[in-house]
Symmetry: C2
Subunit: 320 residues, 2 copies
């Protein structure tokens, strides 16, 4: 929430040209950008909350006439109520929303739009995309494909790998498809591929099974950094040393730290960054600060995170 | 170009907390965003120059540690030299470029990227897209398709229309394809479709031909607002009154003014906005101010510009 009082107090102690200029801006009507996101129920959404709150601070500092209001909700039902709160009694110029579910939020967001609000949707698209002025999403196919390309080169186009799947969803399907399509063009053999539900403990157990079942494994792709932590623990306990690479995906802070440290087994990650909420908030602010055209579809790449560029993907204060 | 001296002078007359805070920012190393664009050789590029210069002012005001440097070039060769100037003697953190031609600029931009510079490309993609960290482009198929959908509804799914093409390019092909594919599903007849090279005078002459050839025309689609002005002049001189709609595309200032005035013959336009350069500059600034993830592809929609929303697309001080 904007700290108008704190700013006003600051102004009282500042004189000269800058103070006059800023007072002028404060006198205008504020542009209000509402941000509706899931509460920090697990690592990735914890990152979303962190980055939304950072964006609020940064945007309000940069554009004094823009007020960013962040609401977190623990469920789809709660998120519908949050939309009602955001629009009650104020003119909401823009809504940036990461919907809990597409099905339950499409109708309520459509109602907000009917009031003339600019709608930016992040990650999970609405069932009627025409409601979205701006749609920001990651590229799960690229997450799998870019990892597979790197692995193919490092393994010299051959070897034996095991793969862990997440929760059965479109996101998981796309990651696996991107990975499998690249591997199919190589001499690499996928020994096994099972679900571990993006869960660290289940990934630990599944990796123990893989280790018992396969005497030689060249590399593991865990599809997600939470699962990667479970995999690494199982490998460590097993004492097995032939596994050259164990890779995840998402750009979790702990894994970025391994990349920065040039860890030999996990020297890369691929981002599906919770900071995409920040991209949407900045783009929405640009629409209102400078009439920059921001209606459209922004699809984020999943570039390899390497020791050289890891700093750009590293947020030491973020929970994820 | 940054006006460090002017700012420093302003600071001398400002005391208190804000002055201290800003002095701190000035002491940091500046992030430099170079912007390379064609010179204002015609209406649309005139708009590009205007919006790049506006973005420079707005970004430098919002983010004191970011310096935006805009260079305009009258030719592809000159643009290659401009890239050398931008990278000579300074660490260029980012380059935002609208290339004259894809062929001539791809190699030089690749060289800039080799120095670690973030590359944002606008409108005309490079021949090797992997050089582009961010690509921002309009949607020419939507320009044609959205115009055709509106026209179909207004004409009650029937009638006779004439169409003017631009310069034979992918851009023109896509606009015509978007329009034709929608019209093919209706009972509307396209009487004729000829090139007028996005030129107002040639459009005037071609429309005179159409008027002489066809005794009844329900609507004209000029594909571009420059050509639309020529069409409107020819219709006016002819005294013909059966033409219900004459539509263009791009969102030229003079045409937005017609839309705002609820002109009965030209009540809409569709944007292919030169301000897309501004979108790319804001997004690049967000990458560096807040580590917001801005690598990817941003495809702008071409929503209908109507009397209700025309203000959002209107820049009274822009030449376009």
């Amino acid at each position: 929430m904007s700290t108008i009082l704190r700013r006003a107090a600051g102004l009282l102690s500042a004189v000269g040209l800058m103070a006059l200029a800023t007072t002028g801006a404060l006198a205008q009507n504020k542009v209000v950008i509402g941000v509706s996101i899931p509460a920090a129920t697990h690592g990735w959404t914890g990152g979303v909350v962190y980055h939304a709150q950072q964006a609020e601070k940064e945007i309000e500092a940069a554009f004094p006439h823009i007020d960013v209001v962040v609401k977190t909700s623990p469920s789809a039902t709660a998120q519908v109520s949050a939309l009602e709160d955001l629009t009650a009694g104020q003119n909401l110029d823009a809504l940036v929303i990461l919907p809990f579910t597409s099905e339950e939020l499409t109708g309520p967001v459509e109602q907000v739009k009917a009031g003339g609000t600019f709608i930016a949707v992040v990650d999970r698209g609405l069932t009627d995309p025409t409601i979205q002025d701006l749609y920001v999403a990651g590229d799960n196919i690229a997450v799998g494909a870019n990892t597979a390309k790197w692995l193919t080169e490092k393994l010299g186009n051959q070897g034996k790998v095991v793969v862990l799947r997440g929760i059965p969803t479109v996101i998981d399907d796309e990651r696996i498809q991107g990975f499998s399509d690249v591997i199919a063009e190589t001499d690499i053999e996928i020994l096994d591929i099972q679900y571990a539900n993006w869960n660290q403990d289940q990934a630990f157990t599944l990796m123990q099974d893989y280790l018992a079942k396969y005497p030689h494994i060249d590399a593991v792709w865990a599809n997600d950094d939470d699962m990667l932590l479970g995999v690494l623990e199982a490998v460590k306990e097993s004492g097995r040393t032939e596994i050259k690479y164990a890779l995840g995906g998402n750009g979790m802070k702990e894994v970025i730290e391994m990349v920065k440290a040039e860890d030999p087994v996990t020297p890369i990650s691929t981002p599906y960054p919770p900071s995409m909420i920040k991209a949407a908030i900045y783009m929405t602010a640009a629409q209102f600060n400078g009439q920059a055209p921001m209606r459209g579809n922004f699809k984020l790449d999943a570039p390899l995170i390497t020791p050289e560029n890891a700093d750009q993907f590293y947020f030491p204060d973020s929970p994820f």
